[in-house]
């Protein structure tokens, strides 16, 4: 892989990798650093990059590891879990149109609900439903067995479904029956 290939890869995957890191870290600055570090690691180990469809899972594994390193570095600096601080680092967006305000509110709601989840559940959920990885790819990305990923995804969904802030999106058996 040369610089042109890396440039192409960045164009293709940088945005998604960056936003994945944002969701994991809940801090734009840390996410930017983590993704940059991830792509630097990709570059350093460019000879080890697998060919074919496994490349995406490999990239996200590097991204997740970079995020974990970032969290550990932050924790060691502050001496505590900086999850709350990270939330404060969300980009300050002025609610210009009403739609934008509604979207921002929705984003804040889902992020707040996600913040309640432990990393072990949150990261597979993000990789599955935002990054669009398959369960097998997530297993590669987080270095766990597919069965573990399946179980964690199930647990994460159940917990989100119990969150009253997301009640509007929760489908019950009754509503499912009615929709039929």
């Amino acid at each position: 892989m040369d610089v042109d290939d890396l440039d192409e890869w960045l164009k293709q995957d940088y945005a998604k990798a960056y936003r994945t890191a944002c969701l994991v870290l809940r801090n734009a600055d840390d996410a930017e650093d983590a993704v940059q570090e991830a792509f630097l690691r990709v570059w350093r180990f460019r000879d080890a990059i697998p060919e074919g469809p496994g490349r995406t899972a490999w990239l996200y594994r590097v991204v997740v590891n970079a995020c974990i390193s970032s969290v550990r570095a932050s924790s060691s600096r502050s001496g505590k879990d900086d999850g709350a601080d990270a939330l404060e680092g969300l980009p300050d967006k002025s609610p210009e149109p009403a739609v934008r305000a509604e979207q921002t509110e929705l984003a804040a709601t889902i992020e707040a609900a996600m913040a309640e989840l432990p990393d072990a559940l949150r990261i597979p959920l993000i990789l599955r439903f935002y990054a669009g990885l398959s369960e097998k790819e997530i297993a590669t990305a987080i270095d766990r067995r597919p069965g573990t990923v399946k179980s964690r995804l199930y647990d994460a969904r159940q917990r989100l479904a119990q969150d009253p802030r997301l009640a509007a999106w929760v489908s019950t058996d009754a509503t499912l029956e009615a929709s039929r």
């Binding site: 440039d7 960045l10 940088y14 960056y18 969701l23 969300l90 980009p91």
Partner: protein, 392 residues
């Protein structure tokens, strides 16, 4: 059951993610950082690599001559830029580590660290000093006045594998307690030490107690197993009364051969893993194979340790010699004859204690018998009542 559909989850997470604006300069920054990556000099030119390599080569050479088991440990470092090189490096690391007693050098870890390797067991390379040569005998320092001389050069090489003729290996140990006259403890200990040296042995441990009115001393002697009986005879022949003397011998030839067979098998297994390692293609495969190699190396180290211990014990016999004066309370306690009345009281006390112990020890069984008899009696009584009613 409540649930959120896949589509809703995707929509919600996409919504949350879209609240983060992707920095336009992000990819450019990455490319700039890539361009800023220092052109690392060839690893062979780095001073610490040179030092580590030199140390590894010297250590490996020393181990090769000491062990002579044919493990090639000479390593030359180069930048791990491909799977093959990473695998080769991991193989060399494992070889160097398993060659024996080489400390890990953590400063080498970052050389192969990285995203995929942070959770792996990479980063250990041999560059430390060898902790004790193979076959060296650990000689603890004496606790008191006696100085323990170093093992003489004439000692047989401890830990040498069983030769092709299958020499037998016997672990011999013994202990002798001598009682000497007043003021003769020190001279007797010196005589014992001299006898040990004469037989090619050495003092592994020695203590003397010259405090108070009853000086005493104790020596632990390691002597070539062939000279063990001779040493025992010399010690018994000293101008001292032998209070107790015990010697034991245990044939461990079969156990030793079994350990050697296990070692050969495990080394062959490890060689096969090394071969597999050179054919690995992904980091995940390398880590998996590396883990297996580490496991096997751990087993080899453990069995090698057992083999060396057994070899040491069977090459050098151990004899403990204690010397005390006749006035020593311990000696008095065991040698002074009792009077008849005193012995009678002692016997009475022993008899009482023994009787109480017997009652207590049998009480459990007696209780069980009583319970069984009681249950049988109840059953019989109930059966008799039922039978009597029927008869009526």
């Amino acid at each position: 059951m409540n649930d959120i559909s896949d589509d809703d989850l995707s929509r919600l997470l996409t919504e949350a993610a879209s609240s983060y604006d992707v920095p336009e300069h992000g990819p450019t920054d990455v490319l700039a950082a890539v361009a800023d990556q220092p052109v690392r000099p060839p690893m062979a030119r780095r001073p610490w690599i040179q030092l580590s390599s030199a140390a590894a080569i010297v250590t490996a050479g020393a181990l090769f001559f000491a062990v002579n088991d044919g493990n090639p440990t000479v390593a030359s470092n180069s930048a791990p830029t491909s799977h093959t090189q990473l695998a080769e490096r991991a193989r060399r690391d494992a070889l160097t580590r398993s060659a024996g007693s080489i400390k890990a050098a953590p400063d080498l870890a970052p050389a192969v660290g990285g995203a995929m390797l942070t959770s792996g067991s990479f980063g250990v390379a041999g560059s430390g000093s060898a902790a004790g040569g193979v076959g060296a005998v650990a000689v603890p320092a004496p606790a008191a006045a006696l100085t323990a001389p170093q093992a003489p050069a004439a000692l047989p090489r401890v830990g040498a594998p069983v030769n092709d003729e299958g020499e037998s290996r016997v672990v011999k140990t013994g202990s002798i307690a001598l009682v000497v006259g007043d003021g003769k403890v020190s001279s007797t200990l010196k005589a014992v030490e001299s006898a040990a040296r004469h037989d090619g042995g050495y003092i592994a441990n020695g203590t003397t107690n010259e405090y108070g009115e009853t000086p005493s001393g104790e020596l632990t002697i390691r002597v070539p197993v062939a000279k063990f009986e001779d040493l025992v005879s010399q010690v018994r022949g000293l101008d001292a009364k032998v209070r107790t003397a015990t010697t034991t011998g245990k044939d461990v030839t079969a156990q030793y051969s079994d350990l050697e067979a296990q070692l050969r098998s495990l080394k062959a297994t490890r060689e096969r893993f090394y071969l597999i390692l050179t054919k690995t293609k992904t980091i995940s495969e390398i880590l998996t194979v590396q883990q297996r190699i580490d496991d096997v190396s751990g087993q080899i180290d453990r069995i090698e340790g057992q083999r060396k211990l057994l070899a040491n014990q069977s090459d050098l016999a151990t004899l403990s010699v204690s010397v005390s004066e006749a006035g020593d309370p311990i000696v008095k306690a065991t040698t002074k004859p009792r009077s008849g009345i005193s012995q009678a009281f002692e016997n009475a006390k022993d008899g009482f204690v023994t009787g109480v112990e017997a009652i207590i020890s049998h009480s459990g069984r007696a209780l069980l018998w009583l319970l069984c008899i009681g249950v049988v009696a109840l059953v019989l009584r109930s059966g008799w009542r039922v039978a009597r009613r029927r008869m009526v």
